[in-house]
């Protein structure tokens, strides 16, 4: 299923992905509530990307006592350069996991099990928030714009291809 990955090797630690993510979802730049992040050690330059693996992981969905993490069909459209996709305008269909804010009680079970640490309590709405691939136009990938870098990409697996056929 489609999900975002950050190449720790290619990433320069510019945090553009977090900034674009927060601007898209929060209507203001606020990386502390971004749906992905890149952890950077400024001294060693070691970088580790943290993103949601969606249905390929689904630990949050498994533990949610309220069934508040729901599977949603999505069509990803390319804006920007995706190393994984062949041409501009290519479309990928698949599923993502989204939070049903009506059902979420902010119990925190999912926060504890998330292996990449990208599902959290929203500081104002007091429910869980997570990556939804921006309704099919992932801003993080679009804003990883340097042609020599392109560290943020869509992971597309075999199932996605079958779904499209």
């Amino acid at each position: 299923m489609p999900h975002v990955l950050i190449s720790s090797k290619k990433c320069t630690g510019c945090h553009m992905c977090e900034l674009a993510c927060s601007a898209y979802h929060e209507n203001a730049y606020r990386p502390s509530v971004a749906r992905l992040f890149s952890a950077v050690n400024p001294t060693t330059a070691a970088i580790k990307g943290h993103t949601c693996l969606q249905t390929a992981c689904a630990k949050c969905q498994e533990v949610c006592p309220q069934d508040a993490i729901v599977t949603k069909e999505i069509t990803v459209r390319v804006k920007g350069d995706y190393p994984s996709l062949e041409k501009n305008g290519e479309v990928v269909k698949g599923y993502v996991l989204v939070v049903d804010e009506e059902k979420c009680t902010n119990c925190g079970e999912c926060y504890d099990v998330c292996p990449t640490g990208v599902i959290h309590e929203h500081p104002e709405r007091e429910v869980a928030f997570k990556c939804d691939l921006c309704d099919g136009e992932p801003q993080c990938i679009a804003f990883c714009q340097n042609p020599h870098v392109l560290a943020v990409d869509l992971k597309v697996d075999r199932m996605d291809k079958e779904l499209q056929a």
């Binding site: 510019c14 730049y29 400024p42």
Partner: protein
């Protein structure tokens, strides 16, 4: 408020108290942010003609309006004070991630005044400000260690601005350090922090930066701007090669300071040029919110880290006769850890080598000898052995030994890596720079060496270029750099006035012309001049050997060239005339009124 947070955090180190006050929006309208707003706050906060070391002399950390958004390169922070080295304004710029974090914490600026009785670290988590005793635990730490300690003890995502051991001992060119390799290098901010017993400010912000009713509109425009203007051939050289590419070019042009400015061509440059650094490159890193990612990491024989950039290669390499790339990297790494500006470090060590070679005084330092060279940074930072004397700085050290002509500085700021004898325009750039010896206010090197659009061996036509530049040809004049530094855009985005106007449209929510963009720059430059005149700036001049006939080089590509004292003075007067200043460089009332400068001498 969109883009601005509308708040200034005031820290009083004497009382260990803090207060939040509203940003002066009238000033923000006139002077935008960054350099402009910093200078307006300095005008107000610095006691006129006061002692730079006095507790009242503030250090101001100022962001630009685009910090914390995804406008590339605008993560830069400007740190300002009345410099203890020069006695005039000092605005020192630093990349990394501190300015965005400051914005996320809710502040456009931080004004630091007073003097702590004991060493202190200030931590800021959004609206919670704490004063942590630094003695024993943090005082004495190198820059990477204090950052690591703050991530461990305060917040794992903390961004830290700190001084190293050099700042603690008030070495005049001690710098501020953030994200380990990023330095607010020039003018001795580190010395001032050390004097105020301020080891570090560590900040963590979790709030938003608003950009308008619909952030997606802004986001889409920035996507376009990045595609059209940022990620182009004009800028990506910085990602692919970076400033080491200048080393060979400057040496070939007779511009690279060599052995304390005794030549402009360094015969060992092949060992420390871009080709040599490309062989040991490991990866690229970016400042926060920058798509260009120019920071080059290198690794060789037991030393790894970012840089060195061209200025370091020139001053700590050629100027010290050092062509050993590993030694150069070690020297650079030592300066980074100790919190020393590399331009001044290389200049002073080169001077001490010169004094030794000339038989004036034996500092145990000789051109090209690695052993003494590698010991120098630590001795300077600790003021031990020869370091106690070197820490005087180039001007005082040369004067002490009766050779003031060997000190290569302007207004007591050591000169960077461009010898005006190989590029005459630099003489005016250095003389008129508002913070002393600096290459960042205008860059005639672009005309004279890089692009080759104007001949390097004449001052004809240069005064106009110094003041106004020609951004279409990539030549930055002082007025344009002044508005760029309000943004705060980095030089590695070769931004044009028209592109700045496009971004100011988001800021001011109206149409903006290129003329308005230049006007902001000229206003800011004149405000800076007023500040310097108020504080008693020295006459605009440069070391005489850089223009007098008998100072011409005898070797290298610029051998035999001399500007001539008369030509230099004439061109300087021409700069003043273009600016609407009198023969002493005092702005006329008409000029100040025309520009809307809101202060007077």
């Amino acid at each position: 408020m969109d883009f601005y947070q509308g708040k200034v955090l005031r820290i009083d180190l004497s009382k260990a108290t803090s207060a939040v006050e509203p940003l002066n929006t009238d000033w923000a309208e006139l002077y935008v942010g960054g350099k402009g707003l910093l200078l307006r706050y300095l005008w107000e906060e610095v006691p006129p003609k006061g002692d730079p070391w006095a507790p009242e002399n503030p250090v101001i950390l100022m962001s630009g309006p685009f910090a914390g958004t995804n406008v590339s390169t605008c993560s830069r922070l400007v740190v300002g004070c009345k410099s203890p080295a020069t006695g005039i304004l000092n605005d020192s710029y630093v990349g990394g991630s501190f300015a965005p974090e400051m914005k996320f914490a809710g502040y456009d600026a931080i004004v630091i005044q007073g003097e702590s009785p004991e060493p202190v670290v200030v931590t800021i988590k959004d609206d919670v400000v704490s004063f942590i005793p630094a003695v024993e635990k943090y005082w004495g730490m190198t820059t990477s260690r204090i950052e690591e300690a703050m991530r461990r003890d305060f917040d794992p995502a903390a961004k830290t601005m700190s001084i190293g051991p050099a700042g603690e001992r008030e070495v005049l060119w001690a710098c501020l350090s953030t994200d380990q390799f990023h330095k607010a290098g020039r003018g001795g901010h580190g010395a001032l922090w050390g004097h105020k017993k301020l080891k570090a400010v560590s900040i963590r912000g979790t709030g938003p930066v608003a950009v308008g009713d619909d952030a997606k509109v802004f986001l889409d425009d920035i996507y376009r701007i990045h595609k059209e203007y940022v990620l182009t051939e004009d800028n990506l050289w910085a990602h692919e090669e970076g400033t080491p590419v200048l080393a060979q070019v400057m040496s070939d042009a007779g511009v690279m300071p060599t052995r304390n400015w005794s030549s402009g061509t360094f015969e060992g440059v092949e060992n420390i040029n871009s080709d040599s650094f490309l062989k040991i490159r490991t990866r690229n890193r970016a400042c926060y919110q920058c798509a260009i990612a120019c920071r080059q990491f290198h690794q060789a024989d037991g030393v790894a880290g970012e840089g060195p950039e061209y200025e370091t290669i020139a001053l700590c390499g050629g100027n010290c006769g050092i062509s050993d790339i590993v030694a150069l990297m070690k020297f650079n790494a030592a300066c980074d850890e100790l919190g020393l500006d590399t331009i001044s470090s290389g200049s002073v060590v080169g001077l001490a080598m010169d004094l030794t070679e000339k038989g004036v005084h034996d500092f145990g330092l000789r051109f090209g000898e690695v052993e003494g060279y590698l010991k120098a940074p630590e001795l300077i930072a600790k003021r031990e052995g020869i370091g106690a004397e070197l820490a005087l700085g180039a001007r005082a050290l040369a004067a002490k030994y009766g050779h003031p002509e060997l000190a290569m500085e302007v207004k007591n700021l050591e000169l960077p890596g461009y010898d005006p004898r190989g590029a005459f325009g630099m003489s005016l750039a250095y003389a008129t720079s508002d913070r002393g010896g600096c290459h960042m206010r205008t860059y005639p090197i672009n005309d004279e060496v890089v692009a080759g659009t104007l001949p390097p061996d004449t001052l004809e036509g240069k005064p106009q270029r110094i003041v106004w530049g020609n951004p279409a040809e990539g030549m930055i004049g002082e007025n344009f750099s002044a508005v760029k530094f309000c943004g705060i855009w980095c030089d590695f985005w070769a931004i044009t006035p028209e592109q700045i106007a496009q971004l100011f449209r988001h800021l001011w929510k109206r149409e903006v012309t290129e003329e308005e963009v230049f006007r902001v720059g000229e206003r800011v430059w004149n405000l800076g001049r007023l500040f310097n005149l108020r504080e008693g700036v020295e006459p605009d001049d440069i070391p005489k050997k850089l223009y007098e006939e008998d100072g011409a080089h005898t070797t290298g590509a610029s051998a035999g060239r001399a500007i001539g004292a008369e030509n230099f003075r004439k061109a300087l007067q021409e700069v003043y005339q273009i600016r609407g200043w009198d023969e002493n460089g005092v702005p006329s009332e008409a000029k100040l009124a025309e520009l809307g400068v809101d202060v007077r001498l």
